[in-house]
Amino acid sequence: MNKVMEVSGLTKKFGNFTAVDHISFDVTEGEIFGFLGANGAGKTTAMQMLCGISMPTAGKGTVAGYDIIKQNELIKRNIGYMSQKFSLYEDLKVWENIRLFGGIYGLREKIIAEKTDALLKRLDFEQERNTLVKYLPLGWKQKLAFSVAIFHEPKIVFLDEPTGGVDPAMRRQFWEMIYEAADQGITVFVTTHYMDEAEYCNRVSIMVDGRIDALDSPAALRHQFKAGSMDEVFRQLAREAERGD
Amino acid sequence: MKQFIAFANKEFYHIIRDNRTLLVILGMPVVQILLFGFAINMEVEDIRVAVYDPTPDAFTTGIAERIRQNPYFTYLGNVHSMNEMEESMRKGELELAVVFQQNFQENAVHPGDAAVQLLSNSSDPNRGSIAVTYATAIITGYQQEQLGIGRIPFQIRTENRMIYNPLMKSSYMFVPGIMGLVLMIICTIMTSVSIVREKERGTMEVLLASPLKQGPMVFAKTIPYMFISIINLIIILLLSYFVLEVPVNGSLLLLLLISVIYILLTLSYGLTVSTLVDKQINAVIVSAITAMLPVLMLSGMIFPVDSMPRVLQALSTVVPARWFIAAVRKVMIEGQGFIMVWKEVLVMTGMTFFLLGITIMNTKKRLE
């Protein structure tokens, strides 16, 4: 299997504080990789390094085939990113958002137009083409944001707490979209605070105090920690944390 | 009262911990004083001029006539005594006085040497010096003309005297302007931003849900800014006294009184802005456009109000800084007393109450 992400000894220090402490792992093409950890465990910092927007203090790695230290500009062009906090411009229409992000990733106008039609049809959003994004229900926004994040067919897409606060039914529809993308070969790297969602991942890593303390499939982790659910696994690990919380 | 102090205290913490802003606040007056201290020349028009001519004759009426016809001058007429002239100049009605020596023509013909004094009101030194330059040119021109028609050679001596600003420092003009600008920026922009920040960050929601009343809360927020304004005022006065050598000619107490009224006025304006907007960026934009820009353009800080088009002159009457700057010039530079600035003080006090009224009307006790 092809590796779309390989990192070893990745470290980030802020002064005396080691936010990310020698993490090593790899992610296979088409995999759904859950990246879990308590608040303050270092997830966000690690993600920033993987997306090429923060320079590691030590360690090396490749993302989408590019070196995270020397080729971070190329990484940015070959990944997708979506977070709960920001993903779409609320005061732009649905199609304007799609065109904007297509344009940012250098797609040709004609291709953008074709893909937009196909996308809106697939999402059953055709009548919302001219709606301002702020008037869409949250669940729809999130679906659209995800579609926009993979619009340029990146090798890997980073999802930072994509489903926070969403209706349970919508949350599941969202995960079905994630599965579809994975089936098309897009690797999904996702963080979440919903432990049931951790179960939907192929493999899960759990960060504690800047280190990765566990990494395996949810079933194997449950077995290893003799736990009934991922929630329990997480709690057992996070309890050992020494940092703030 | 305890709540009030706690609130003002908290506001002090916000300011003190924001090093960059603190540096800007305290550095701004210093930089501006030094920048504006050495000013730029500007076109001057409508110089109000009067003539004192104890013994009218052909020469003096000839010169007076030329001044009257000059487009840069507005001829107010003749004065009949030096006292009248001085009185008129103190009131600010008169900017330039042309004072002829007694028996001007006789002196010019017989010893061939006549003297004329040009007295300028130089609390606005640009205007003053330019007015003198124009008048000198006119007199010299007249002299050349007379020589041209074959009269015997004679000489006209022009003596220039600056009143109120004998050293003719341009910084005299800018110190009041800088005071007006700096106080406006701190009181209006900083105050409105600090209130709106609480709305934007969501802390306002918690404050609203507490028993603290809106009035005391808003008032407590202004305390630190009032304090900083007074520090700035002192910095400006010290800098202008020791670095630019601008003395305070009038009563220091009166100057401080005028400044405190202006501080209250600009704080009220900051509060008014804060009730109208919900985002910090909007607070900055609204304050900058409605407060800072008028100070720069319409207050007389850079462009003399007198030389503005009539429409802008009318518009400038609603700019608080215009009244403040005028009052400070009178007190600080011309050394006038309260009698001469009561109008400015009254206007600023009225504006303060007006803005406070609007603020109280607009202050919400709920979120919408």
């Binding site: 608040n39 049931d196 | 709540q3 960050r201 969501g202 802390t203 979120l367």
Partner: protein, 299 residues
């Protein structure tokens, strides 16, 4: 107690957006009442009206005998309110924040220390640290301490656990349990369905309406569907296969299993055969206990 009667609230031009559509409920002394629903259901509007921060278009909210609209001053003295975002002063230290809020309510940290002791002790080692430098869980604890410091009769917590990790969330609910024992009425909203079981009573909220109000157990007992769980490998493909089975009414992922609701004629063995034909062997099909989340989705 809290008595809410037919609250209505709408926003926008000509009241286009209905935030609340005639909400009524009561909460008794010493009860934790949970309002559970997704973002945009109207939870924040409801809580803001009860905290006297918004006026309802119609209806009343009576907080321990005081009308939130008319007696807003009184209401503000007896409630502790924690808005959706932890509203702390980021540039003030932990201790300064707490002192400030104590003074705001005319009290001091010492006076009511016993009330916050449990929670505050966990962040006390960091009391000189600025609130902005705290992690999500610690900010949440500080915000709760600030909302509690004046010994409120009613605590209103708007999504206190959003964006907080599962461990901190569990601790937080443990703290609420202890506060309840002090007789404080606790009103809390959340988008996490799994937190429902920590409440005495819950209301499931959707699009400005309470679609059900009961104890968590009562909600689950009222579940009318027949629920089975299906577990196996290749879960994504399995879900698609389940949707193709005629007796399956709904099917959705549920943690490491899939939950399906079925017709009364459903026979698990028939499903096992159906799945085996499609290549899914070693599939476990078992009767499942419904959860609040199942109930929410069925409504």
């Amino acid at each position: 107690m809290i008595e809410v009667n037919k609250l209505c609230k709408s926003y926008g031009k000509q009241g286009k957006i209905n935030a609340l559509n005639g909400i009524s409920f009561t909460v008794d002394e010493g009860e934790i009442f949970g309002v559970i629903g997704p973002v945009g259901a109207g939870k924040s509007s409801l809580f803001r009206i009860m905290a006297s921060l918004l006026l309802p278009d119609s209806g009343t909210a009576i907080m321990n005998g005081h009308d939130a609209a008319k007696d807003y001053r009184k209401v503000r003295q007896i409630i502790g309110y924690m808005p959706e975002r932890f509203s702390l002063y980021q540039d003030l230290s932990v201790e300064e924040n707490l002192t400030f809020f104590a003074t705001l309510f005319n009290t001091s940290i010492e006076e009511n220390y016993h009330l916050i002791k449990d929670i505050y002790q966990q962040i006390e080692p960091f009391k000189k640290r600025r609130a902005g430098a705290l992690s999500g869980g610690m900010k949440q604890k500080l915000a709760l301490s600030c909302a509690l410091i004046h010994k409120p009769e009613i605590l209103i917590l708007d999504e206190p656990t959003t964006g907080v990790d599962p461990v901190s969330r569990k601790e937080f609910w443990d703290m609420l349990g202890r506060l309840k024992e002090q007789g404080i009425i606790i009103l809390v909203s959340t988008a996490y369905m799994d937190e429902a079981s920590r409440c005495d009573r819950i209301a499931l909220m959707r699009e400005g309406e309470f679609i059900a109000t009961d104890t968590p157990r009562g909600i689950i007992e009222n579940y009318r569907e027949i629920l089975w769980s299906v577990e196996g490998t290749r879960m994504s493909a399995l879900l698609t296969a389940l949707r193709g089975y005629p007796e399956v009414k709904t099917s959705f992922a549920f943690g490491d299993k899939h939950h399906i609701t079925v017709d009364e004629s459903f026979q698990p063995d028939a499903l096992r055969h159906f799945l085996a034909d499609k290549g899914f062997h070693d599939v476990r099909v078992e009767l499942a206990e419904p959860t609040v989340e199942d109930c929410f989705m069925a409504m």
